[in-house]
């Protein structure tokens, strides 16, 4: 009858069937459609880049776990390293050389997560840490975008030379036009004095179905939004951060566009181009580095959106999502310490209420 228990098991004795691994798996499932569309759009080099980034990310994690003497296998299977690598791969230029993916993957898991002590304790979003590091150290490779070449169309590189592109870099002969993404295009044009109205005339029009150059994850805004909506339905993420971030980008863009259409891009282009959609649904909503109260998440999202728009409009780098998310990650502890839910029986500042009959 009795079962020897050195330490008694505390209540509650039942628990949910949910687990960290299942959460990561469903986020990856929501991300899959957009990624597959990206593979189809950019051909084999994109697939190889994705594979290399993810495998190096998991390699970095396994190495650190082994270093600290912990079992690598169970931790790898909760999928957090895989998800980090995936998010990084999706935000890279599709035909980037392999060592960009490798260095990014290692940087993400080693310096982005494991150095802080593993899952749940990193202060910054590991994927964005790696992307910003790559953007700053290898600006050329990180802004070499490629016009979309559907997988099985004639001009697309086959299986083998796709691999050669990733390993040795795109041969000059290939006519895949290395053109800047819309944001980069707009910025370079503006710096050359052309104002937006003329330069936008010839630029490829950003569409929901993603026909313009950009990183794998950026192009299919519709599929990303669908993935995001699915995650909200499954209650994986709440609507606060995506809504606030997209509003944070759209509102200033709309206002300034109304004021001076020549100098400022309109809200639609801002939302559909660059990493806005990917950032809002998958990157800013990372549990570990975003505030844990709804009001805090609204502030966090609005901050991300606003900073993205500010960096895109005035700062040197064309894409602001990565920097904005990192900056807001650094503010998360302060947001959390000031924005707390109202405790039952206490007022907002935590002082007990006065009993009223």
């Amino acid at each position: 009858m009795n079962h020897s228990m050195d330490t008694p098991v505390a209540a509650p004795h039942t628990t949910t069937t949910n687990s960290a691994g299942r959460v990561m798996a469903s986020v990856m499932a929501a991300l899959a459609p957009a990624t597959l569309f990206g593979f189809w759009l950019y051909g084999w080099p994109a697939v190889y880049l994705w594979l290399i980034t993810v495998s190096f990310a998991m390699l970095g994690e396994a190495f650190c776990l082994r270093l600290t003497g912990r079992q690598a296998i169970p931790v790898l299977f909760d999928g957090s390293a895989l998800l980090t690598g995936w998010l990084l791969a999706v935000s890279l230029p599709p035909w980037a050389p392999w060592w960009i993916g490798a260095f990014g993957g290692l940087f993400a898991t080693v310096l982005g997560k494991q150095v802080f002590g593993g899952l749940g304790q990193n202060l910054f979003n590991p994927a964005m840490v790696a992307r910003v590091a790559l953007l700053i150290s290898f600006p050329l490779q990180m802004t070499a975008w490629v016009a979309p070449l559907p997988l099985f169309s004639a001009a697309a590189p086959g299986l083998i030379d796709g691999l050669r592109i990733t390993l040795t870099g795109a041969p000059p002969g290939f006519d895949a036009v290395a053109s800047a993404s819309l944001l980069g295009f707009a910025k370079t044009e503006m710096s050359r004095g052309l104002d937006l109205l003329q330069s936008l005339a010839q630029a490829p029009v950003p569409g929901w179905y993603g026909s313009h150059p950009g990183s794998m994850g950026e192009t299919a805004a519709l599929l990303i939004a669908a993935g995001g909506a699915a995650m909200m339905m499954l209650r994986l993420i709440s609507w606060h951060i995506p809504f606030a971030m997209l509003a944070g980008i759209a509102v200033p863009a709309a206002i300034l566009h109304a004021v001076d259409p020549a100098r400022y891009l309109d809200a639609g282009t801002h939302l559909l181009s660059g990493g806005a959609m990917l950032g809002a649904f998958f990157i800013a909503t990372d549990y570990v580095t975003s505030p844990n109260t709804p009001r805090g998440q609204l502030i966090f999202g609005a901050g991300c959106g606003l900073l993205t728009w500010v960096i895109r409009t005035w700062a040197g780098y064309p894409e602001g999502v990565a920097f904005a998310v990192l900056l807001m990650n650094s503010l998360t502890p302060i947001i959390d310490s000031y924005v707390k839910p109202r405790i039952y029986g206490r007022d907002r500042k935590g002082v007990a209420l006065e009993p009223v009959k």
């Binding site: 009858m1 009795n2 079962h3 228990m5 008694p8 098991v9 505390a10 209540a11 509650p12 004795h13 039942t14 628990t15 949910t16 949910n18 687990s19 960290a20 299942r22 959460v23 909760d78 957090s80 593993g118 899952l119 749940g120 304790q121 549990y287 570990v288 844990n292 109260t293 959390d336 707390k340 839910p341 109202r342 405790i343 039952y344 029986g345 206490r346 935590g350 007990a352 209420l353 006065e354 009993p355 009223v356 009959k357």
Partner: protein, 501 residues
């Protein structure tokens, strides 16, 4: 509940575990054959333990007083069976530590003879103080699990002029259905008990909160409460922990009990349905609380259901009566969300035990705890609006004051956070450890402060005594000097007379 209520009035907090109440809830009540030996613990309630008034070997009748209350918050203990007092010794307590506590062992003579009890025809003609005395004498305590002496709450309710009594038929814990059973079978007793309590505290209305996953109970209670307009049956959304008093008060009356105040200070008093029934039997029939309905459930139980058993029966006997499919992997007293794990079966049934669960291997599986991924699920589930992940992180690193800064003392240990945590972190164990550690530190601080005051008082005493001794010595020296001087003066005076003559 219309769609509107469902979206806006539906409370945000809490969890929806699947309640495993059927089929145990539907099985009719069974009577436990009188056990051969019962162990009545002296400390089955909140407050001071009771003091035995019987001697070993003494013959007692069923319902006779075994131990009287001590201090202003306490409750008496009565004999659940007629027989002889075998011993007053130690028995294992229903507590995770496995430590023992004092209990009176009775050997039953199987005659089940009651003491002669004074029946009261019309309790509403009695003076409220009389009802309080009868309830206290009968040893009625909160049977929902809190086991706070009911009479003390009546006095408090009367003093603070509480206007509405809330009868808690929530029973939101999965597996348990003892309140459900008492509402279905003895709805009349519950309503009558509630009206007696209203008379005792001077309340004008009684709100009976019943979760809407117990339709039969709601129907039975509506029939019983039909003739009395002041007793209102109010179904509440089924959601754990709706049965917790602060949440039920907020759902039924919209009032919030302030953090360090008692429910009575906002004009509300909460009593469990079984407590009301016990008040009914105590006042109307004059019979003390010696037996109760207890749910026996869990994967390892062959015929789960509710049993009407005398208090003090061993858990082993209750499980044997219901039959066991396999050796239980874990025994739990109470529900799965807040119940205490029992180390073995030789533990007596106490007043606060609403259920005994025998889990099989599947139900008892404890998944390994992973790292916290800060998903915030626990902050959404917490009915008190706390931040379990922040508190647990600080407790893990040993910063208990930091956790206390997040108002750890407001945590009602309902278990919602640990239930929804995808990393299966034992959050409630962290909080129980921290609360225990903080109160231990506070006790140590109290002791060291007392020691400091005692040490300082002793030193002041020693200084005073030294000063007094010095004064006495000085005074005596002065007297001696004065005496010597006087003697010398006298001698001098005497001598000149000699010379001048």
């Amino acid at each position: 509940m219309g769609l509107f209520e469902r979206i806006f009035k539906e409370p945000r907090w809490g969890v929806h575990p699947d309640d495993h109440k059927r089929p145990a809830a539907d099985v009719p009540l069974r009577l436990l054959p009188p056990p051969a030996r019962v162990y009545m613990p002296l400390h089955q309630h909140v407050g001071g333990a009771a003091r035995p008034v019987v001697l070993a070997g003494q013959k007692v009748l069923k319902g006779q007083l075994l131990a009287e209350p001590q201090g202003n918050i306490s409750a008496p203990i009565h004999a659940p069976v007629s027989g002889t007092v075998a011993a007053i010794g130690e028995v294992t307590a229903p507590h995770p530590s496995g430590l023992g506590f004092a209990a009176i062992t009775l050997d039953s003579d199987f005659e089940d003879r009651w003491i002669d009890t004074a029946r009261v025809a019309d309790p509403f003609s009695l003076d409220p103080a009389e009802i309080v005395r009868l309830t206290a004498a009968a040893g009625v305590v909160g049977l929902g699990g809190a086991t706070f002496p009911a009479a003390v709450k009546f006095v408090l309710g009367k003093r603070l002029a509480v206007k509405s009594l809330i009868v808690n038929g929530g029973e939101c814990e999965p597996y348990l259905s003892s309140d459900d059973r008492i509402m279905r079978d003895h709805a009349g007793q519950v309503v009558d008990g509630a009206r007696i309590v209203m008379h005792a505290i001077g309340a004008i209305e009684a709100l009976v909160g019943i979760e809407d996953n117990k339709p039969e109970a709601i129907a039975a209670m509506r029939i019983a409460a039909a003739p009395f307009p002041e007793v209102k049956i109010m179904p509440v959304p089924a959601r754990y922990p709706m049965g917790s008093d602060k949440q039920l008060i907020q759902t039924l009356t919209g009032k919030e009990v302030p953090a360090d105040a008692r429910a009575a200070e906002v004009g509300v008093l909460v009593h469990n349905v079984s407590t009301c029934a016990a008040v009914h039997t105590a006042v109307r029939l004059g019979r003390p609380l010696v037996e109760r309905i207890v749910t026996i459930n869990g994967g390892a139980v062959a015929k789960p259901g509710n049993i009407f058993a005398p208090l003090g029966t061993l858990v082993e006997e209750l499980l044997a009566f219901c039959g066991l499919k396999e050796t239980p992997s874990r025994l739990i007293l109470g529900g799965p969300m807040m119940g205490t794990p029992l180390l073995h079966g030789r533990i007596p049934l106490v007043k606060g035990a609403s259920g005994i669960l025998a889990f099989d291997a599947g139900e008892a599986l404890v998944p390994a705890a992973g790292p916290c991924i800060r998903c915030g699920g626990c902050t959404r589930a917490c009915p008190m609006g706390l931040l379990p992940l922040e508190m647990a992180a600080r407790i893990r690193t040993g910063d208990l004051d930091g956790a206390a800064g997040f108002h750890l003392t407001d945590c009602i240990a309902c278990g919602c956070c640990a239930y929804v945590c995808p990393a299966h972190i034992p959050l409630v164990q962290y909080f129980s450890h921290a609360k225990g550690e903080l109160s231990a530190r506070q006790r140590a601080r109290l002791r060291s402060d007392a020691a400091k005051r005692l040490a300082e008082a002793r030193i002041v005493r020693l200084e005073r005594e030294a000063k007094e001794k010095a004064e006495v010595a000085a005074r005596r020296k002065a007297e001696r000097k004065a005496a010597k001087a006087a003697a010398a003066a006298a001698a001098a005076a005497a001598q000149p007379e000699g010379e001048t003559v």
